[in-house]
Symmetry: C2
Subunit: 340 residues, 2 copies
DNA sequence: CGGCTCGACTGAAAGGTTTCAAGTCAAACA
DNA sequence: TGTTTGACTTGAAACCTTTCAGTCGAGCCG
């Protein structure tokens, strides 16, 4: 059905009766070529179905006009929103963005990093499986611009993050202001940096208010099922000892908790007020719309793209920056005293 | 801080005191090289921080060991699950998978397709903005393997889809069996092929049962907000004329509908039973867990990957296949007569 | 009319890898 | 001792594009 060996510029040149250099000029500096020749070459190109060989081009020319985001979990709405922000940044700079899903696998992440470096991508954005991975430093030391996303970097690397301590503070301050004193924190496992910071923020709020009491309910993961289990644990407590509010480390936990509370006949927020984290699309679509701490996801992405482009532009004497954004509390029915 | 001009195999060869060919052999056919030489070369490689130039390699060698999925909307959980399936298929074949998010933009899709073809990717998987796009045919005619995902292809192209007529049939048959007669279909806009097919399936079920009645409630989009609006329209009807069940074209609509019903004080499934479509993660996490038509998303992905690899292997005399999978009904509380 | 400028085009080098025919050399063999 | 074998290694071609110093001819000025 089709010729399978792709025609090259040589073929095109022969067909149009010009030299190789002229074909290149038609493609790259059309102004230098006379009208007649140009149209003859263009005709040859379409007739032959010629497609530029990007490898050869890059080999000669140097850079690839391509960015890549190695993302921890492409199924997580948080990261897809971040990626959308990057897409905008890349578009604005005329670069293409490839998404590479490590899916929490260190092995896959390593394979992607190797490939991307070999392809000489213009820059790599990454939410790493392990922020301390020495491969990332090695990569950067060899000259590929790298920006950490949603993970803090040391002084030798650019990063964009959101202030999780502040997020925890906002959530708990809001609960204290709406009259709650016995507050549960639902989240885990504890080694996760984000979780630790959000707890620290919660405690800071309590200390500042000089009132309130925080119980930590550790979970094994940050998903809906664990939220449901936490709901059972809370509902099982005698009403007198039960917290009147829960601050969940992410919205998935909060949704699971909410579902189980409703299922067990408790009222939200009447019997338990709930605050989530991330403000995912489904937080506002829940049966009781969820109060949640929102992170500037798009902004995170566009900023990361800008940083990596700057690093690519500046070369080795780039000033690394660690940017921290502020989260924002979105109040909805799950913490309103009188839900409509 | 770092040397910025990447060392090449030539540099490595000089450093190790061997010829270029030997360095290549160390990299590609280590068995041919003596132990002593090999370790000397490997040492030079690490000392210099040498990284293979994939462009040069590909220029000489031909193919790129890379697959790409041009996805319609990376924020949609349905597609990310499909992409996960592809990832598995690609891993199994030792290929890397790049995700390219067109985000419903024909322009961006075109840009990605051009770039991927120029990069000589091994194959392209695509859920296109417009299935009839002539660019896709042109691309394929020039020799890049292409598989359509979740969009049916004609005989000249491979595709993987799910039987939406069957899905509609399953949903409505279930509603009929649980005693419902007045059923609303919520979905739109009507031009969308998937929506049309699901309605057709619903009508087929009614025709076969010889009972029941379907009202189509057209929506402007397939999102949560439209689901809420549909809820208002349904709740506004006098109880006698109001359908007792709703079949929604996707889960987002169903969740919006559910949320509004609960908000307006109606019981689900008591006053209105609800069936969604896609069985996204959040369908089972809803306050009333949602009955939904589940599609084999992972399988769709792995199969698509296999097809594109087969096409790449077979070359021009590849037999194109259009695979259709069956959906499955997942029954949960939103249609159970006595919810727990 | 000689010398110039200018526009249009050419030819060859360069870029980093893979591949393969050809070369080297020591050990084994006759 | 001369030959063969086999294990290693080498050198150069090929892949396709971009770039740049030139070439060529036409038109212009003096």
């Amino acid at each position: 059905m089709t010729t399978n060996d792709a025609p090259s510029m040589k073929t095109v040149a022969a067909r149009a009766g010009v030299s190789l250099g002229t074909v290149s000029n038609v493609l790259n500096r059309p102004g230098l070529v006379s009208e007649a020749t140009r149209s003859r070459v263009l005709a040859a190109i379409t007739e032959l179905g010629f497609v530029r060989n990007e490898s050869a081009r890059q080999l000669r020319g140097g850079s690839s006009r391509t960015l890549a985001y190695v993302v921890l979990d492409a199924s997580n709405p948080f990261f897809t929103d971040v990626a959308n922000g990057m897409q905008q940044g890349a578009d604005a700079a005329g670069l293409a963005l490839f998404l590479c899903n490590s899916g929490q696998s260190g092995e896959r992440q390593a394979a992607y990093l190797d490939l991307l470096e070999q392809q000489r991508v213009e820059g790599i954005l990454i939410t790493p499986v392990d922020a301390a991975d020495p491969r990332i430093d090695a990569l950067a030391a060899r000259g590929t611009p790298v920006v950490l996303v949603d993970r803090a970097a040391g002084p030798g690397r650019c990063s964009v993050t959101v202030d999780d301590v502040l997020g925890g503070d906002l959530a708990v301050t809001h609960l204290l202001e709406t009259g709650h004193r016995k507050i549960a924190f639902v989240g885990g496992p504890l080694p996760i940096g984000q979780v630790v910071d959000r707890i620290a923020g919660a405690e800071r709020a309590i200390a500042r208010a000089g009132a309130g009491e925080l119980t930590v309910l550790e979970t094994a993961a940050l998903n809906v099922a664990e939220g449901r289990r936490a709901g059972e644990r809370l509902a099982g407590l005698p009403a007198a000892r039960r917290p009147t509010a829960a601050f969940c480390a992410n919205d998935l936990l909060a949704l699971g908790l909410l579902q189980r509370m409703v299922g067990l006949g408790l009222r939200v927020p009447g019997d338990l007020a709930i605050v989530g984290y991330d403000d995912i699309e489904f937080a506002k679509a829940a049966a009781v719309p969820l109060t949640s701490v929102s992170q500037p996801r798009q902004l995170l992405g566009t900023t990361a793209a800008e940083l990596v482009l700057a690093e690519s532009r500046d070369g080795p004497d780039h000033q690394h920056r660690q940017l921290v954004f502020d989260p924002e509390l979105i109040v909805r029915a799950s913490t309103r005293l009188r839900p409509t």
